[in-house]
């Protein structure tokens, strides 16, 4: 052992094989590197949304009490939400509109779930500058197209909550949702 330490020359001819010390050095540094990367994972991940924020990112709404022609306002991710049960008249009126007439072309089928075209679920945030449009509550004005009306700058939405007149550029946003049962919708 002492012999090796004193007589071993630092320069090895290529192909003499890996020295023990080089192997140990590489293994140790690699292990430390893996450890370092593993340490980084929690430090970065802790800044992502915590469990309570994620829990508040989904809202369940009970729709059993909403009759055709009625709508309710709910809260989803700290913003207002419209849940409306469309009447058959409102549905056919929406389907009659030619896509070419729309500023933001979408059919009612695009904006609802299959088999549930009467359920129109949209954010209650005007796509112009963010006011809450009228028409979601009893007796509120519903604008010239029978949907929603934003009093701030006069945007009119139709029965499918699509922009028809006024400064808003887009239809009311349809959030991600699914029917967990016939009476409960999970938004987000």
């Amino acid at each position: 052992m002492a012999e090796e330490a004193v007589t071993d020359t630092p320069e090895l001819a290529a192909g003499d094989g890996v020295r023990r010390r080089d192997f140990i050095n590489l293994a140790a540094v690699s292990a430390a590197g893996v450890g370092g990367l593993a340490t980084l994972v929690p430090l970065v991940s802790q800044m992502s949304a915590s469990a309570d924020v994620l829990a508040a990112s989904s809202t369940e709404v009970d729709i059993s009490a909403i009759k055709p022609g009625q709508s309710i306002k709910a809260i989803f991710r700290d913003q207002p939400l419209f849940v409306r049960n469309l009447t058959p008249a409102e549905i056919s009126e929406a389907n009659k509109v030619a896509l070419g007439d729309l500023r933001d072309p979408q059919t009612l089928a695009d904006r609802t779930k299959e088999g549930k075209e009467n359920w129109l679920i949209t954010m209650a945030v005007c796509t112009h500058l963010g006011c809450v449009p009228l028409g979601g509550g009893e007796g509120e004005p519903r604008g010239e197209f029978g949907g929603y009306f934003c009093p701030c700058h006069g945007s009119h939405y139709d029965t499918a909550a699509r922009i028809r007149k006024g400064p808003a550029p887009l239809n009311l946003e349809v959030p991600e949702y699914e029917f967990t049962s016939d009476t409960v919708v999970k938004i987000g």
Partner: protein, 426 residues
């Protein structure tokens, strides 16, 4: 460091040469922890704890900053915010447990580091500044740890704060107004909690600054070694990189293993269960004790039960408690021995171990209730503690007959192994 045989920093890459002419930080690193810092070749593992302390400081700062992203310092929600961290924040439980157990680990490392200094005479000339700065770091650590423990606003947080801030009231004349100024009120409350959070965030960076000075003060004369014999020639030293980087790397690995074992398998072992109860100013816990690393000093505080002249017992306890650390500042001048290392000081060595026993007794008593027999044990141990520094060390260092010292470090190393020959360090 001014050893003439030290490796010189010679950058070969053009960018490194450019950097060296403008802001020589790579040169600084090379000369501090690289191949440019010659270190005595005979250092033993007691010398690894300084580097380990630096790792602890880094861990505390990183986990602390991350925790501060989720903690709320308002008395109404602080406790809940810590539970939010434990339950809702991704990996929050890990950050919290690493920070809490890391603080304990930091104190274990630092106590060993300090006791190494006591044994090997690291505080002696020409390293007095290293020692003084080190005591300053220790005091800053104690302040930081105390304030950090208050932040979860549990029962022990609140009542510990009550006791320690209450000590200021013991100061004659200015005590009461001073206490109220510190607290921002009449008792620990929202004002105190908020300012403790601010200061707890600040002080670790002050510690970093003092650590830089501490290392600079060490690197000026160079490191001590277990023989206490100064470096005389090139064969006495090896370059810090790679030898002590490798050795420190190994002990850092072992340290992290222990910290991980504690964090994952016994995270609340060193904590007090009462701190999982929200603070209640109306209900005092049965036994108020600080965290284990303060126990020796807490024992000294509570050892004084009688008034003396115009000093009341509370004030005596406070003075003794602070005095027990401030006395370390004077150690380089209390210890008059020209021999550094206890390896060659047979009489001093015995008293060093008696001091260790006394501190162990103080540690044990500090965690116990303030009842007999712990009170009388604390009193005897406190008596020895102060006698050690003020009477025993000066006398022993003057009358002691030390063992003969080796001529040099090289001689000390060679003598241990009959057939050894030193090959030049690469």
């Amino acid at each position: 460091m001014s050893f003439p045989w030290a490796n010189e920093y010679k950058p070969s890459h053009p960018f490194m040469q450019w950097m060296d002419e403008r802001l020589p930080v790579p040169r600084l690193v090379y000369n501090a922890v690289g191949a440019g810092y010659p270190v005595p070749r005979n250092l033993n593992y007691w010398w690894n704890f300084g580097f380990m302390a630096l790792i602890c400081l880094t861990i505390q700062i990183v986990t602390g900053i991350v925790l501060a992203m989720h903690y709320a310092a308002n008395a109404g929600i602080a406790f809940d915010s810590v539970e939010h961290i434990m339950r809702d924040v991704n990996w929050g439980w890990l950050m919290r447990y690493v920070h809490a157990n890391g603080a304990s680990a930091f104190f274990v490392v630092i106590y060993i580091h300090i006791f190494r200094g006591f044994y090997y005479g690291s505080y002696k000339a020409p390293r007095e500044m290293v020692w003084l700065l080190g005591v300053v770091i220790f005091l800053l650590m104690m302040a930081t740890a105390f304030m950090g423990y208050v932040l979860p606003w549990g029962q022990m947080s609140f009542w510990g704060a009550k006791v320690i801030t209450g000590l200021f009231g013991a100061i004659p004349l200015v005590g009461e107004p001073l206490q109220q100024w510190l607290l921002g009120g009449f008792a620990p409350g929202n004002a105190a909690l908020n300012r403790f959070f601010s200061l707890h965030y600040l002080l670790p960076f002050v510690i970093v600054g003092v650590v830089v000075l501490h290392i600079w003060a060490l690197h000026t004369p160079g490191s001590n070694n277990p023989t206490g014999v100064p470096v005389k020639s090139e064969s006495d030293t090896v370059p810090f990189y790679p030898y002590f980087i490798a050795k420190d790397g190994w002990t850092v690995g072992a340290f992290l293993f222990v910290l991980a074992a504690l964090t994952f398998f016994a995270p609340n072992l060193l904590g007090h269960p009462d701190n999982y109860i929200p603070a209640n100013p109306m209900a005092t816990p049965a036994h108020i004790v600080p965290e284990w690393y303060f126990w020796p000093f807490y024992a000294i505080l509570r050892a004084f039960t009688q008034n003396f002249l115009f000093f009341d017992a509370k004030l005596l306890g406070v003075l003794a408690m602070f005095g027990s650390i401030l006395i370390w500042f004077f150690l380089p001048w209390l210890d008059k021995s020209p021999v550094r290392s206890a390896t060659y000081r047979p009489l001093y060595r015995k008293f060093f171990w008696v001091l260790m026993v006394a501190m162990a007794v103080l540690f044990y008593c500090g965690g116990k209730p303030a009842e007999e027999p712990y009170v009388v044990m604390s009193q005897l141990a406190t008596l020895y503690y102060f006698a050690h520094f003020l009477i025993i060390v000066p006398i022993v260092s003057s009358i002691e007959r030390p063992d003969p010292l080796p001529y040099s470090i090289t001689e000390a190393v060679l003598d241990e192994d009959e057939g050894a020959a030193l090959s030049p360090a690469q």
